[in-house]
Amino acid sequence: MVTLPHDDIYQLVREPIDMAAQIRLVRAPEGGAIVTFDGFVRNQSHNRATLYLDYEAYESMALAKMQEIGLQIHEKYRIHRVAMVHRLGRLEIGETSVFIAVSAPHRAAAFDACRFAIDTLKRTVPIWKKEYFEDGAVWADGELPPAPAATPRAKPAS
């Protein structure tokens, strides 16, 4: 069982994400490579011009799920440190909504871990975005997280 390194970072924030600061925090002498993912607000969705986005989260669960992803990538890949930050609230076009930085001794593990982290975040972390357009707003289509199947249970005595 791997435990999360205490110098990893998992955060939900309401201010702009300081990407350079996150990179500095994962940049350790043991490393040799950092791979980052910067997800930012697109100016259109399904050919409609987006005005801005509003993100909300089930915050306690979202943080727990982000840490779970951190544990998973530490187990799966030979990496050193992780910074994973998601912003909530209103975001304008071009602003960063999610930022992930992974440091590792060698680049392959850093690329693989960063890719796994963002893909898993988008599938399993309870965060939602509402897209605002000139003529209204919609909740973005998303992915349904995989949920456990029915609980096996002993038959009640009859």
């Binding site: 669960m61 975040l121 349904l144």
Partner: protein, 109 residues
């Protein structure tokens, strides 16, 4: 409505042995309920608390709200539930003080 008789039938026995105190026969519990994304819009609020039969399932809790807000029922197939911040199966029995959330497809990132 929560089917109380059925929920009690499914409740795991809390009597550990012959000397255990007799449990209350009919008991209700209070659970916290959270709605997110479009479900919050449909239910009209983000947080609620509900009284259900002891060991009622998450499915029964959802049915309680679907009866109150009929539009919710339309979303049943595209909702996952969590119990105490962990994804949970619909037949998970509830305990007093549990926090249940109904989660539409996630769209973070």
């Amino acid at each position: 409505m929560i089917a109380r008789g059925k929920a009690q039938l499914l409740a795991p026995s809390r009597t550990a042995g012959y000397n255990s105190p007799v449990p209350p026969v009919s008991q209700t519990i209070r659970v916290g309920v959270l709605f997110f994304g479009r479900l919050k819009d449909v239910a009209g609020h983000a947080a609620d608390s509900a009284e259900v039969a002891d060991a009622a399932t998450i499915e029964q809790l959802f049915a309680l709200y679907a009866a109150r807000y009929p539009e919710l029922a339309k979303y049943r197939s595209s909702v996952v539930a969590s119990r105490n911040q962990e994804f949970a199966a619909w037949d998970t029995p509830l305990r007093s003080g549990d926090e249940v959330a109904f989660l539409p497809p996630v769209s973070g990132g």
